[in-house]
């Protein structure tokens, strides 16, 4: 039996692996995709102490190498269930079952989709969830951003420098994001606000050609855009573990700063936990706390 199984090899999970290994616990990290988590999409990290500039890829590689060198084991399998039998927890993947004394869930979150027909089919053919990743493909073209939070506002500002025209589509007439960013956007001649509207249709041949938006009065308008950037929030990836952790209304795992859940021996760390600030540094901090708590739990 492994001492600690960590689900998710993003910054939170890999930091937990480092802390757990340094406390001499055996560690198995289960990851559905590839180590690194969503930070690998960030070209340049400028707000993590010590490194003034580091790419998300390099950051992920460094943390992975550090955890590996300390003896953490990584397996690329998706955890689909946690079974709690008191002192033993069983983590189930499509291929295997693994037993551990403690489990840390550090699965992060995924992009929320609009839910419009053909959205999935057009990902990579005009539909994107990451402006900094895909913005460069829309140089001098018209694009639309959907959303009302900081991500949507910052995406629109980023794209305003690249694209010829940026439509910012929001279902309300006020933004949740920061006023300062809204003001900056208002200064941009190539940004047009499309308030009280939702995307109702994507028109495409082989790639996106236009989007249909419908406003609250039912008026339909077609925007000729080759790119649609969806920034309507994220969904925490906790659904598979609802039997052992409590979820809030938005699906986040309920746990205080000590990362403990309602099940003794099951901890949560990172973006999938209820918290106010979701940053790289708060994710790694959670990893440290969750691992320390898990070690304490096993030793007691």
């Amino acid at each position: 039996m492994t001492d600690i199984i960590i689900i998710g090899a993003g910054p939170a999970g890999m930091t937990a692996a480092i802390y757990a290994r340094r406390a001499s616990k055996s560690v198995l990290v289960l990851e559905a995709m590839s180590y690194g988590g969503q930070i690998i999409n960030t070209p340049d990290i400028e707000n993590y102490p010590v490194a003034a500039h580091i790419s998300g890829f390099e950051f992920a590689q460094n943390v992975y190498n550090q955890a590996k060198a300390l003896g953490a084991e990584f397996k690329f399998e998706k955890a689909v269930e946690i079974r709690d039998s008191g002192d033993t927890k069983t983590v189930v993947t499509p291929k295997n079952e693994y037993e551990a004394k403690a489990v840390i869930i550090a699965t992060g979150s995924e992009n929320r989709k609009l839910g419009v027909a053909d959205e999935d089919k057009l990902v990579g053919r005009g539909v994107s969830y990451c402006a900094t990743c895909d913005g460069a493909f829309f140089r001098k073209k018209a694009v639309a951003v959907v959303g009302g939070g900081n991500t949507a506002l910052e995406d629109a500002l980023y794209l305003a420098d690249i694209a010829e025209k940026v439509y910012l589509i929001h279902r309300r007439d006020r933004f949740r994001g920061e006023d300062a960013t809204v003001e900056k956007l208002k200064q941009r001649e190539n940004v047009e606000f499309v308030y009280n509207s939702v995307v109702t249709k994507l028109n495409a041949d082989k790639k996106l050609e236009s989007v249909e938006v419908t406003d609250k009065q039912g008026n339909v308008r077609t925007l000729e855009v080759s790119g649609l950037f969806v920034a309507v929030g994220r969904i925490p990836e906790n659904q598979n573990f609802a039997s052992v952790i409590e979820l809030d209304g938005a699906g986040y795992a309920v746990a205080a700063e000590n990362c403990r859940t309602k099940t003794p021996g099951v901890f949560v760390a990172g973006d999938n936990r209820v918290k106010d600030v979701r940053q790289l540094v708060t994710a790694t901090a959670d990893g440290a706390v969750a691992a320390t708590e898990a070690v304490k739990y096993i030793n007691s």
């Binding site: 995709m33 690194g36 999409n41 053919r125 990743c133 082989k206 790639k207 790119g227």
Partner: protein, 102 residues
Amino acid sequence: MAVKTITTETFASEVLQSNIPVLVDFYADWCGPCKMLRPTLEELSVEKSGVKFAAINIDDNPEMADEYGISSIPCVILFKNGKEADRSIGLRPKEAFDEMLG
């Protein structure tokens, strides 16, 4: 075999006129997920026979990204007899490409 770097100039001879299927990785140096994906493709290129593995930098060869309507990378396209047979977007696990190659 390894993943072979190709360009707009060599695309026709390396991909479209190839006698065997070709898996082409459209990537850029600034793209983190592309860097994460490459070792997987390198591994597969050693394991799989009867398939050619190629990579094309879309910053140096934007014509080809345009040609295939690519707006997100990594984008991996499987070509058979000069035509697109399948496409995968984003970082995906090795099994996904295993499946794609059949």
